[in-house]
Symmetry: C2
Subunit: 412 residues, 2 copies
Amino acid sequence: MKATVVTIGDEILIGQIVDTNSAWIGQQFNAIGVKLYEIISCGDDASQIISALDRAKSTSDIIIMTGGLGPTKDDITKKTLVDYFNTELVLNEEVWAKMKSIFEKRGLQVLEMNRSQAMIPKNSIMLPNERGTAQGMWFENEGRVFISLPGVPHEMKHLILHQVLPKLKEHFSFPHIAHATIMTSGAGESVVSHKLTDFEAQLPSHIRLAYLPNLGVVKLRLSGYGSGTDLAQEVQQQKHKMIDALGQLVYAEGEEPLEEHIGKLLTNRKHTVSCAESCTGGYLSHLFTSIAGSSAYFEGSVISYSYAIKENALGVRKETLEKHGAVSEECVTEMLQGLLLSMKTTYGIAISGIAGPGGATTDKPVGTVWIAVGNGEHCMAKRFQFFTSRAENIKVFSNAALNMLRLFMLNH
Amino acid sequence: MKATVVTIGDEILIGQIVDTNSAWIGQQFNAIGVKLYEIISCGDDASQIISALDRAKSTSDIIIMTGGLGPTKDDITKKTLVDYFNTELVLNEEVWAKMKSIFEKRGLQVLEMNRSQAMIPKNSIMLPNERGTAQGMWFENEGRVFISLPGVPHEMKHLILHQVLPKLKEHFSFPHIAHATIMTSGAGESVVSHKLTDFEAQLPSHIRLAYLPNLGVVKLRLSGYGSGTDLAQEVQQQKHKMIDALGQLVYAEGEEPLEEHIGKLLTNRKHTVSCAESCTGGYLSHLFTSIAGSSAYFEGSVISYSYAIKENALGVRKETLEKHGAVSEECVTEMLQGLLLSMKTTYGIAISGIAGPGGATTDKPVGTVWIAVGNGEHCMAKRFQFFTSRAENIKVFSNAALNMLRLFMLNH
């Protein structure tokens, strides 16, 4: 079973937007055992769309189009599909009524170009868009399924999850696949892989392991293929073996960002946290507060970029800075102590390092970072060395700090 | 003149990585007057690569491939190109010697799979990669140019800017194009467009205006097409008319993020800044500190997510919070005063709002934000209302705060 994604829009070709839809669709389809054969991005032009569809039809069973359906696109995509499938547009009264009611509620006038969005090709199945005014469309032609979706990511995703995947599962008989995902943090891909040498050696050939590393977090996904009724159970057993082999590197089963996982731990314990950030300049706090509901456990932070703020707001001693520098165990320990004193949170994190490109010394190259985590009673501090650019250093430093808090919380 | 981008790699099709290369290439090519006809992403497979190249050749003059050249890819792309262009691989002694010397310097052993990276197709021109071990390759065939580049973004970009674009300009005669870009902040695309109604009406047809909006910043690009020797001058004159029409919305000529622009202003004046952030949770400070060299002007911040920190670290009065709430003119004004007292910076920014999804009240829906900026003497506070999701609200709030500082600095 193969699929092709066709993304439609001049804005992709001129580089105004990055096409993130295709990667997301690739993940969803991969999970149900459908391989993407190709992704084609073409312009808002009938002949280009037709040419892309002809190519997709020759290689794939499922063709997913995104984009080209907005009210300002002059309906090129929809008109092209009507011609391509030799049909005509009819007004869908239900969609039209719903659209008018939404516009009225917002006190807006319904325009003729909105009405055209309620016109649906006669031989298509309408996939109702609960998040916007451009409806999804499902065509069947010569044994293939063609699906046209709006390009706005959250509308497209909602339609795929609630309309497209259920309908595809009805329409086709997909291979039997069972997945299991675990999340690890604290080691790179090569260390994780080394720890899994024996595990991988015993893994049966119908269960495959994929490494998906991203800035200090390595996601591991097992995918089992086969017809046995106990496939899901077998994959779960292998998952538990993998967890045993990795020990404390594993922080969660299933997909979960590290900041969300820590947020749940803190919420469950009714504990709180605060940060003293130097080199990460607010990014660590941003990770915490990117999670909805984080005000339940995240109290606040001091971003002490300068020596003066480290001294005045966190009480770091002048002698410490002079003798050991800001990137030192002594400095982050004092930052942490000052932070916990003023913020009065259960846990604190202090971080100071060299994100680059400037600021390096002989013994502290770019990518050096000291992190301290602790509560009122205990404290641990650790030095890390990374080898990447300023933008990435800020992110890997922050993830290392989150992971240190996670490990500290295992024992405290 | 048309081009097709072919991105090669299974990791794109399974959605492990998002292809950002194509959008960047689209921007670069668009700027020299080459239109992308299509972007095709295919897997690491000879027949798929050949099929994509055949299609690209039928529509385009220039075919740019990225990816598929790493040492772990089994050289499928290079072998496929050798077959496709009916040639053979020869060892490039210069590349091989350089590669060995780099490995020796790092104390690493050179492996056979590294040697294969020094093998270059006989009938290609090698484009030396100064950032990595996979070299670029330039083929000419049936009047078309085929270029193969590594997929690692910073290697690919360096090769495009320093090797590919100069060579393309030698090889083809491109249309004469002159560009001018300005950056605006403080109004959405529709307001900017409204202010440019008269300007657009007088714009000659050979000069086009593109709107490139992104989270509170709207980039405007004029592109002039023609053969006149004074085209560049004409575009510059139009740019100045556009600047006059937009007034203080314009913050820079040429491409420049708002945080970088403000960083330059502060550096030039030897002034400093600090932030008191609530709803943005560190993201505003992150924008400041994402700029290398920001320690020259960015002193630090207080992230006061809870009421307690607002009171204790910033001196906001309990009565203010009880009477007006945290999202109020009174609260951000007191946050700003407390911030300037403790941080002693030239300027301060205080921000408090409702990023969502929770926290809304009848008169303060999700997307409401109060921002205050000031120095020791003057202060201005303003309420904004945005209508987007938590993740985007955090970003647009932060950009609105940067823009308020910019406007404040015009007069103070």
